[in-house]
Symmetry: C2
Subunit: 131 residues, 2 copies
């Protein structure tokens, strides 16, 4: 499997006191136009601290790093160790000022590269009663 695709960071996660921000690089600011109509965004990050060939080969993990949790395939977990290091976080928007989105909270670390943002659309992104 020699083919691959390139991902470019479009911003970064910033944290200051208790405030959390998705800061989009200036050159991508136009891509936020209209986002003020949304209440929540889906933030895609890159788990850059795990971007090493040996970590990206790991296919099973003990969830939450706890050996008491049985080995599970990474596609069945939210592990930050996986073949493609994509993080997915649903976040509530507090405000948008130019290229900076203040959000309520994110489970990603400060300094995480942001690689995409999508509007959260309940009709396609949620299942009322999964069974």
């Amino acid at each position: 499997m020699d083919n691959h695709y390139q991902i470019f960071p479009v911003g970064t996660i910033k944290k200051q006191d208790r405030s959390v921000f998705v800061e989009i690089y200036k050159e991508y600011e136009d891509a936020l136009y209209g986002l003020d109509q949304c209440t929540h965004i889906i933030v895609f990050t890159w788990f850059h601290e795990n971007d090493a060939p040996e970590k990206r080969k790991v296919l099973k993990v003990h969830p939450r790093g706890n050996k008491a949790n049985p080995l599970t395939g990474v596609f069945a977990t939210r592990s930050p160790v996986r073949p493609n290091l994509i993080g997915l976080f649903l976040c509530k928007i507090i405000s948008i000022e130019k290229n900076v989105i203040q959000i309520e909270h994110i489970e990603a670390f400060a300094g995480s590269p942001v690689i995409d943002i999508k509007p959260y659309i309940p009709r396609i992104d949620s299942i009322p009663n999964p069974e």
Copy 2:
């Protein structure tokens, strides 16, 4: 912004008659271990047909390609034209046989590269009453 990350396809979308499959490459099959405990998965695809530098520079689009829809930032839409060509689809699992997941439906084209799979976890992936 010279730094970038590499994404490797881990599978592909297949459609046959009315059946839809996420076929994971054999070498990633172990990553599915335990996924049979889930009812729904989040499938990440790559919009490979748009992987050209000029398309990836587009920051505003008319949603759904309809000029009647006002120009909107790509981060405020689900457009398949965006800086990083990540597609996100919530899918119901029908069955899992070795490296092949049969799903109920996906809005992605047959042949789309699959780049990640995560379990859908309502507590973190959905907002009951967004406001």
